[in-house]
């Protein structure tokens, strides 16, 4: 990923870069879920302002991405221009546009204003998952982690298969040092996506953090599982080596001696 990012950055920076390269930047950052807002902004902006015709059906999606990247980079001028364009195209009552307006307020730290918009949208469409998740983000940004956790738990009762949400919840629990609750989240994640090595890996690290011989032994099993799913995974290798060093009375040491 490091080399591709380098190429992407080089592409974005070059003035004479072709339309194809800019589109490549947007595609790669989308497919690899990279939050590289600086290059998304520069490539995306170039495309929507100068080569809008080449975007075809992804024109408006690209506008949305440029808006979000602009908010991430603090470029409010571009953000406002893009938002105005989207408003003109889709109207003030469009749910998606209103969510973007909420995000614009979030970027300015106007959390009360953003929440108002989101609550309004959810009154009209309680199943709008993306907007619901934005309310969780706003609560977290306000520093009210308890409310954010509660809201996200409510969300997950309805959308129990949303692995991004489970990951966010696990992240919040880890921050609050509620490792057993975070463990539960990763158990859900492993059930949802068993071949994903990252969940086994984080689960192992959580068990390790909680501590105790049994947990360390189990952690080593999960590190081994992660290694099997991703050969050469360095974190897993470190974990496998570390457990017997830090836990001399674990069963792996007894088996070896």
């Amino acid at each position: 990923t490091m080399t591709t990012l380098k190429e992407l950055v080089a592409t974005s920076a070059t003035a004479g870069s072709s339309v194809r390269r800019h589109r490549e930047v947007l595609e790669k950052t989308a497919s690899e879920c990279l939050r590289a807002s600086d290059i998304v902004l520069s490539s995306g902006k170039k495309l929507v302002t100068e080569h809008a015709g080449s975007l075809g059906r992804s024109l408006w999606d690209t506008h949305e991405r440029v808006l979000m990247a602009a908010l991430d980079c603090g470029d409010f001028e571009t953000a406002d221009k893009t938002l105005a364009t989207l408003r003109r195209k889709f109207g003030l009552t469009s749910q998606r546009v209103r969510r973007l307006e909420g995000m614009r307020l979030e970027a300015e730290c106007d959390y009360a204003g953003a929440l108002k918009i989101y609550k309004n949208v959810l009154e009209q469409d309680p199943a709008d998952a993306l907007t619901w998740k934005r309310t969780v983000v706003v609560l977290r940004d306000c520093g009210d982690s308890k409310a954010a956790i509660e809201e996200l738990n409510d969300y997950l009762k309805v959308f129990a298969q949303d692995h991004e949400a489970w990951l966010e919840l696990a992240d919040m629990y880890i921050e609050e040092q509620e490792y057993n609750l975070a463990k539960f989240c990763f158990e859900e994640l492993i059930m949802l996506q068993a071949p994903n090595y990252q969940f086994h890996l984080r689960y192992a690290e959580l068990l390790f953090t909680i501590g105790g011989t049994q947990n360390l032994e189990l952690a080593r099993n999960y590190f081994a599982q992660a290694l099997e799913l991703k050969p050469g995974c360095l974190r897993a290798l470190y974990g496998i080596v570390l457990v017997p060093i830090l836990c001399p009375d674990c069963r792996f040491v007894r088996l070896l001696s």
Binding site: T1, M2, V9, E175, F208, T209, R235, Y238
Partner: protein
């Protein structure tokens, strides 16, 4: 030499090498949406603490311990070669408005303090991480006798070890350090910075890579 504390007055200088400070800021700059942390490496010089370098650690799930343990092992090996020790921890929170060390950061710092009694904790002040900095963006914490982390009035002075200089330090002006931070940011030096998470993604990258700042 043991630290002498009279009330809350500490009779010990905490000298900061510009490279250590700049690398800390670059780590925070590289991952603006994440909490980051790292180890402080340094040594005692005539009863004063010099922070000479930092080892950037994580930008994901800072509170999990196994990789921290491995990083400590490796840092200790690196330190032996350089005549340094692990002398503390730096921590930057995810929320812009959170300028106090998180409970987990204090826990990790306390672990380091158990092995090195003069260990310190740097808390990064997020709102001061800007393109044109005019203030030092970290706050220094030391371990009070009552075993809690106590904030100190100032960080620094800035300087490097020089056996021939008076007091054994060659001091650097705060203004110069801030200029160097601004330069490093504008020249994208943070893209070269490698932290432990980056190393785990690609083991060809080393956290001990030197950066020219």
């Amino acid at each position: 030499l043991p630290k002498i504390t009279a009330g809350t007055a500490i009779v010990m200088e905490f000298v900061v090498s510009p490279v250590a400070y700049i690398k800390t800021i670059l780590h925070a700059w590289k991952y603006p949406a994440c909490a980051v942390n790292g180890l402080l490496l340094g040594k005692m010089v005539k009863g004063n603490l010099l922070v000479e370098d930092v080892v950037p650690l994580f930008h994901t799930h800072l509170n999990l311990t196994p990789m921290f343990d491995v990083a400590l092992f490796q840092a200790e090996g690196h330190c032996k070669a350089k005549g340094l020790q692990v002398v503390g921890l730096y921590n930057a929170n995810e929320l812009n408005t959170e300028n106090s060390p998180s409970p987990a950061a204090m826990k990790l710092a306390s672990r380091i303090q158990a092995d090195f009694s003069n260990a310190i904790l740097w808390q990064v002040l997020n709102t001061r991480i800007v393109e044109h900095p005019d203030k030092i963006a970290i706050r220094l914490y030391t371990m009070a006798p009552a075993k809690h982390w106590e904030v100190q009035d100032q960080v620094g002075p800035f300087g490097t070890h020089d056996a021939d200089a008076p007091k054994s330090f060659r001091y650097t002006e705060e203004k110069e350090v801030l200029e160097r931070v601004e330069n490093a940011i504008s020249m994208y030096k943070y893209k070269k910075l490698v932290d432990w998470d980056d190393h785990c993604e690609n083991c060809a990258l080393s956290v001990f890579t030197e950066i020219e700042v």
